[in-house]
């Protein structure tokens, strides 16, 4: 298993005059949860769909579970689970009928009842899918994505439109799949989600990977300037420093123990992200090439 689960090297994709992917490169190890983060139109969905075998590429190498996705076959697809964006199909079927039907495509599917339970749709198992809420619909998509016991799971913006509680439940489900050793490629624009779920994050902007690291180290986050704040005589004070521990020790001495109102903050992932994607994060960067 030395070869990565997914290897992408200098992949390019052009739509007319626009290079949607302008030389994108990353690897995903087996069992890793890897997040692609970026504004709309950055190329997240395009690269994901190339890896899923839906789209061709104009240049570069790609390997998914040891196979070039441009030469997909049934045996390869049986090892993938794909959760696409915004499907509206299967409305006339119930949750259980849909999951049971898709289970019939695989050699060793998961137990239908367990999967429905895992995605939290047991109370809705006999409901027509057209009557599900947006969040329940996404959970059905996930159920269909994992029914075949995939080695690699693609999740394209899986929690868009979820309320905070549904998002937490979803994260718990993904944590369980990770614990079972499923490799996951996640695209999201929720930084919190990437920080919670991903072992590593790649920030994509204008068709390139502008940074790729663990969430805590992304963009030199662990070395970033910290802000130490405290209160002296009822007046807030703060200082920007590269050596916060040293400063806190100094303050502790000055105050003879406890420092009133002490906080130490590192740069948030959001600060780093906004710095990395720059102008591309603005509202002008809409119109995702989906």
């Amino acid at each position: 298993m030395s070869e990565p689960a997914v290897a992408v090297s200098d992949v390019r994709k052009r739509y007319g005059d626009l290079w949607a992917l302008d030389g994108i490169t990353f690897d995903i190890a087996h069992g890793e949860c890897f997040a692609l983060l970026g504004p709309n139109g950055a190329g997240k969905t395009t690269v994901t769909e190339i890896l899923e075998g839906y789209r061709g590429r104009d240049a570069g190498d790609a390997s998914v579970l040891g196979v070039d996705p441009a030469h997909a076959d049934r045996g390869w697809k049986a090892q993938l689970g794909i959760v696409l964006q915004s499907d509206r199909d299967l409305g006339d079927l119930s949750v259980e009928e849909a999951v049971r039907h898709f289970a019939s495509y695989y050699r060793d599917p998961r137990d239908v009842d367990e999967v429905i339970e895992a995605v939290g749709l047991s109370p809705k198992r006999t409901a027509r899918n057209e009557r599900l809420s947006g969040g329940q619909r996404r959970r059905l998509d996930v159920a269909l994505g994992i029914i075949g016991r995939p080695r690699l799971l693609f999740l394209d913006e899986p929690t868009t439109g979820f309320d905070p509680e549904a998002r937490r439940d979803f994260w718990t489900l993904i944590d369980r799949l990770k614990a079972e050793g499923t490799t996951i490629l996640l695209t999201t624009h929720y930084l919190e989600e990437a920080e919670h779920l991903a072992d590593r994050v790649a920030v994509v902007s204008r068709g390139r990977v502008v940074a790729c690291d663990t969430p805590s180290r992304l963009g030199g986050r662990q070395r970033g300037h910290s802000v130490v704040s405290w209160v002296v005589d009822g007046v807030p004070a703060s200082e920007v420093t590269d050596t916060p521990t040293h400063l806190v020790a100094e303050l502790s001495q000055r105050f003879g123990g406890e420092v009133p109102g002490l906080t130490v903050s590192r740069p948030r992932l959001e600060d780093i992200y906004l710095q990395l994607v720059g102008d591309d994060a603005g509202p002008a960067a809409t119109g995702d090439a989906q």
Partner: protein, 273 residues
């Protein structure tokens, strides 16, 4: 496509059976559409039967008897070509096809599902239509084994060719919503020119030539040989039902449909790759 590592995966036949089951469920649960499918030919039969039903188009042959044959041929076109050419663009648009493409379901299993559904719906439609014809308009069922045999082969060749043509034609409508506006007029024109609504031999010559290029004319002719007495064949220019020609033209359309379906069918909307 390479065929590595398909060992252990369910067979195409098994998945095809699962597709037939699920497609039928979906078809019948879309109540309005299913109801319309069965009601529409019956409504036409009631209208035409009430207006012209009692008139004889030839000694001993009522218009209703003539019309039922044409409507059964039309039923082939409705259940296969029209349904698929309208339903598949919708499936392409709502994500059905994209989801299926991302699973190990073989493409052939999808087509098996469509054909299976078409056959079931056709049989149900023919049954309802002939029952109404027999009860209300004095239509008589085919009486000889030869006629039944013709009914079976004409139905099979018609369903296969029109199913394949429907799958191929599903790439023409740009949107799911616009599909019926493109497909329905084609079906209607073929019905008028193929002698479904009027007696074929009374149509202008150019119209007869035009419709001879397409499957419905030959299918309707074969169905008339099933439902009308041998004497009615004398009405045609050649004086026979030309069953050999019917079979040949329908078989050629099966081949054309297969080629077009294989070349042009696509899972995703145009411009999405």
């Amino acid at each position: 496509m390479t065929m590595t590592e398909v060992r252990g995966l369910p067979s195409t036949a098994a998945i095809g059976r699962a597709r037939v089951t699920i497609e039928l469920k979906q078809f019948f649960r879309d109540r309005n559409s299913a109801l319309w499918n069965f009601a529409f030919p019956v409504i036409l039969l009631v209208i035409f039967g009430s207006v012209f039903g009692g008139q004889d188009i030839a000694p001993g042959i009522t218009f209703a008897q003539y019309f039922v044959a044409g409507m059964i041929a039309s039923g082939v076109l409705y259940t296969s070509f029209q349904n698929l050419a309208i339903a598949i663009p919708l499936e392409r648009e709502d994500g059905t096809l994209k989801r299926l493409q991302g699973t190990p379901m073989p493409k052939a299993a999808y087509f098996i599902g469509k054909i299976g559904t078409v056959v079931v719906v056709y049989v149900a439609q023919v049954t309802i239509l002939t029952a109404v014809g027999i009860v209300f308009y004095g239509v008589s069922m085919p009486s000889t084994a030869t006629q039944w045999f013709t009914f079976v082969w004409a139905s099979v060749l018609g369903l296969v060719s029109c199913t394949l043509l429907g799958i191929a034609f599903s790439v023409v409508p740009r949107t799911g919503r616009g599909a019926s506006a493109i497909v329905s007029p084609i079906v209607l024109v073929l019905q008028f020119t193929s002698g479904v609504f009027f007696v074929f031999d009374q149509l202008p010559h150019w119209m007869q030539v035009f419709s001879s290029l397409f499957p419905l004319k030959w299918l309707a002719q074969a169905m008339r040989s099933v439902f009308l007495p041998e004497s009615a064949a004398a009405m045609g220019a050649s004086g026979t039902w030309e069953l050999g020609m019917c079979a040949l033209v329908l078989a050629i359309w099966c081949v054309i449909g297969l080629v077009l379906a294989l070349v042009y069918f696509r899972w995703t909307p145009r411009g999405s790759d």
